[in-house]
Amino acid sequence: MHVAVITNCTPDTAAAVAIDSGGNLKFDDKLVVNPWDEYAITEAILLKEAHSGQVSIITLGGPEHEEALKHGLAIGCDQAIRIWDDALQGWDSLAYASAVAAAITKLGGVDLVIFGKELPDIASEAHIFQTARRLGWSPLGFVAKIEAIDPAARTIRVRRQVESGTETVTSRLPAVISVIKDINEPKYPTFIGIRKAAKASIPVWKLADLGLDAAAVAPKTRRLAYQDLPKREGAVEIIDDPAALVDKLLEDKVI
């Protein structure tokens, strides 16, 4: 089985962020592997252990995203690819999806694509479903457990967690899935794995390598600026008596 896992680096969830006068984002700490992707990478390795085969790990972005690829290689991914091209600068979800789908097609023989639930930088998972659509494969989002994969019958059965409850769905392979936190306990790299990954040479696939032109990835939306959250007004009012708090909340008409 050939599993492709898609990853990116992202600012640390604990990092303080600030916005300058030009609406640009500043953060102090270095990027980390998207925490959601750690579940995706681990799940890909677990599938390789169960069904044999190979795992390819792919990112789209500048060299700062290679850290996520090296993390994957150190855990057991077999090959890493970085997609980047000047024309991808300012990518939106559809541009990302178009390039990633083209890379998966170029790899050939991929049975399953795994994404972490979302990319926190863009706070969206649209690129996951759009990648599936570009490939013409069925996406199964918000997967809490892979119940079964039958490589011979070419089927996958998963449990998805959605607002209305938990769905068990069977679909055909190849498929695209996004995984949530419940799915596994993330693996961490070994010292030997880290040393091996550090030596790996990672190819960069440009648009021409993917058979795409700039028009195919022209973004359809644009970020104008970042803004600070509105400040919450007023200081906290400390109340000792539960009855007084109940009265305040009734006055505020939130009950």
Partner: protein
Amino acid sequence: MSVFVWIELHKGQPIPASFEALGLARQLGDRVTGLVFGQGVDDAVKAAFAYGADTVIKADDASLARYRFEPYVALLAGLVKEHSPAIVLAAATTSGRELLAGAAADVGGGLLADVTELSLDGGKLKAVRPVLGGKVLSVEAVTADGPQFATLRNRAFPQPEPDAGRTGDVITVSPALAEDAIAAKVDSVESAAGQISLSDANIIVAAGRGVGGPEGFAPVKALAEVLGGAVGASRAAVDAGWIPYEHQVGQTGKVVSPDLYIAAGISGAIQHQAGMRTAKVIVAINKDPEAPIFKLARYGMVGDLFDILPRLTEEFRKKLNK
């Protein structure tokens, strides 16, 4: 300007966030079309008119009984290509976010996902969206021509008053895919029955490490029950295995904006704040008067939650006559 709104159904009824989308559609455009897909949808069609649709396009078929990506995307994308609406809106639920992403890919349209503000600027959608786990806002705009897509965060937009007398034309369409052309089959569904969804809740009572164990959620649940609210939890309580993940509020859980959020025994790590800071009123209950949650809260009680929560529950029971 023509606006399509996908009306998401839960057990045959539109979800409240779909009404919020209809309300916003009326502000953005002058022709609002509600899209109702499902099986046995006549009540939902009536509701779509009552909450603001001028026209309803309905597809009523067994293959659409439950939301599935492929048949819904094929149907929506086909209707968008045929009618060329300027704007397509849906609630930013898991289904709404998937569906509009898929349809936007099919028609090559710009998509603004999970927005908390949306306006038109020179005919193009402009949105404010929380990013990076809700720590900052991103202002984004559609730049491409053609249909523009946006999903709206639950409770970020007001729900319009229904007018049961409103009615309009109903266009009936057939599914775009036959059942045997659909790869995904739903084997079973465990409904989150009886529980109020965190994203839709007006009131949430949440607890964290301070409850000390699974049985510590009993007074939290008791208060939520009296208030008709939902139970939330911090990551610490979920990771400890005291309560299932679907209750988790925060950066790696759900983002909520209820009218009232009562945080008991939650210190208020930045990752938790990201999930609840847009609540209208926040009440913090914590032993530690220095806990960061007090910086967000309008009201605070310093003390033991096991002492305070039962007394609050009792007071509410009295005042609400429950």
